[in-house]
Amino acid sequence: MDPTEDLSARVLLTQILSTETPRTPYTRSASKQLSASATRRSSSRLRNKDAVPQTPKAILKHSQIHKLRKSISMQSLNATRRVARSASFRLSNNPPVNSMLLEDGETPRHLLKNILQTEPVSTPMVHGRAASDGRQPSSADSSKGRSIELSVLDLPDLTIGAASTQKRLNRKRHLSFDVSAFEKRLDSVPDLNENKETEQSSLTLSSPTLKTPFVEVRTERRGLRRRALLRHRISVAGFDAAVDRRSMEGETSRWSLGKTTSSEGFTLGLSTLCDSDITSDIIHCDKALCAQPDNATVAEEEAGVAESLDTVREEEENNVEAPTEEEGEADSQNEENAAVRSPSEEEEAAAESQTEEEQDGVDSQIEKDVVPDTQTEEEEVAGDSQTEEQDGVDCEPEEVAEAVSQSEEEEVAPDSQEAAVDIEPEEDAAKSPSEEEEVAPDSQEAAVDIEPEEDAAKSPSEEEEEIADDQSEQEVPAEEVEDDLADSQPEDKHDGKPSEEDAEQLSEQEEQDLEHTSRRARRSVGPLVVPVTEAAGDLDHATEEGWSDGKSKAPSSLHMGSPETHASYTDADPGAVKENSFHLPELANETKDRLLNDKSPEEEEEEEEEEEEEEEEEEEEEEEEEEDSDAIPSKTPAFVRQKMSFFQPKPQNIQASRTEEAIPVPKPKPVRKKGKGPAKKQTDLPKSYLMDVFKHFAKTKVSPDVYPVLNDIMDKYFDRLAEDLETYALHAKRKTIEVEDAELLLKRQGHVTDMVPVEVLIEKYLRMEQRKLLIPIATSGNVVIPKKR
């Protein structure tokens, strides 16, 4: 196959020349059609024959004939086949022909000329002929040259057709087929160049191989071009779309960010705002408070009330400290509508709780008015405007009293308000003790608030008797409440005065006491400076619990204690509240001693009363308060003791109370129930747990004295948390706090954002069992636990 494939004209010619045998050429006209086969046969015969004749003439004739035949054959047949066949034949036969040719003197040039002249020139044929015509090496060469030239020229064109030609080239009969095929093509297809190229490629086997890649490359390029173009277009369009998207997304993202960032814990944010307004208002004008509550919202009102209470007291007590305290209180109160308050804040809470209960709107306002009034009154007690306030308070006392009474049971802190009230009742001294209502009209002003609370505690049995006592007690608790305030915040004289007055009242039994207290109140307000602080301290104890129970007992004891109270109070106040408890027993002793003395100074009596009351109250409170919070440790013992002493030796004198006080008897639970007390009953987390968690998060050393502060903080936090969750649930008209409520809160606080989903937080912080609750886990059987809503 190789020789046939490598049918380059030159190769063929050389072969022919080498193998040429002299033959006689045929005449062209004679053997055109027969030339193909005939020439071969004849050539073979001729060869044989020729071979036989060995005369020079015969040889020449044979050679000429052969040449002719060949020429004819060349003319008639297509290039490739003929060339192939002829080549094969010629290879075998040509040598003599070639030699003959040469010998004959018929140069290829001559032959070629003849061919060209006689036969029509068909370019493809030319190639084929040239290739097949071994005898005409020149022609072949020329044809080759042409072909080569053509091929060369046609290189660029060939690329297109290279592929097609290659296939053909692969065949053995490449050339012949190609020739015929090409001829047909030529006739049919206008693109001669391609055919030529293909033929050329076929002829020159090497060339197609060279060309084909070119063609492929070209096509590839086109493909690439196309693809590139396509890509280009897409990218441009996509780019625009992407740009648009980005612009859109950018805006939305900004918005979303804004939402998340802006949505802070609203509960926390309100306070600061509210505080400034309220505190400023309070500072500026007390009387203006009446008007303000109307404007303020309910929540603010409550806070304002509490704040006002605190602030007012502070003002009264410490002009200097008032502003700071007010602000502090205002802030705290604002934040906490139902916040649990520390002992210092209990009073505030009491006020708030009272107001909260009345929140219906009118009441709250009224309370606020009352409270500010009462507080202002306290201030004015020293002054002359008490009456004015009282009047104002009187209008509302009943309402307030009722509300107060309701809260009394729960609240110890309301006593703080009572402090303000105490001032008034002292003046009035006509409060009806037993019932809240009774107290209200009697105490009129803020005193009513206090009294009802106290009265509620008392109510069980001693109400009637305690009418006077109540008043006194009210005063005392009020004083005590004030004392509490004083303790928490540096108290001023004002608190002490009312407290003393209260103490006095408590100590007094019944009407006498009332009168007494009223007198004392007035007197105490003025002169009593030192005892104020003391009384304040004592009041704290007393006001804590439902010392109304003990109030009845208190009067007698108070009487005794009053002379002693001075000293005791002075000692007690500066010290911790706990110290008071110690002092109280001392006081009790002292009071006992002085019971009979009935000292001239009403103050003393007041003090004693206060003491005893406090003691009893403390005793009573012990049980109650201890349960409530650690923050009021000092108050509890004294207060409960006082209560106890009050309870047991109801009509007793100081002695009885003294004994009780001296002996810290476990007081039976006071009647006043500690349900959701003021500030929602301080609920504490276990110390170990809380400190553990805090230390874990702090990652540095934590001193253990942070626990009370931490407790306080957690208390307030839970207050707000519960409130928020409740609000969310109620807003969704549900009565159950759901997971989505908590999620919403997390979002508002900014813990959950677009970047941080809830599940991440869950997995980070919670334990496994909780995770299982919250995040559905798929188990076998197409079951998901828990069911995802």
Partner: protein
């Protein structure tokens, strides 16, 4: 984070004004809220303590940081 936060449910119910119920799932969420709050608080307190160049968190640090007391 080792033990269950005790009495959370009762605390919340105590503090809630209206009579509201709490689901066990939301109990877990409440615990999560609490933990997040505590972690933030601890972090702030730690920063405050560092301000005073003390490696121990003390009560006054906490008080200064908290907005309530």
């Amino acid at each position: 984070m080792l033990k269950k936060a005790p009495k959370l449910k009762s605390i919340i119910k105590t503090k809630a004004k209206t009579n509201i119920t709490v689901r066990p799932t939301s109990e877990a969420m409440i615990e999560l809220l609490m933990l997040m709050f505590l972690s933030n608080l601890a972090e702030e307190a730690k920063a405050k303590a560092f301000e005073e160049k003390s490696a121990t968190i003390r009560a006054h640090h906490l008080k200064a940081v908290s907005k309530v007391s």
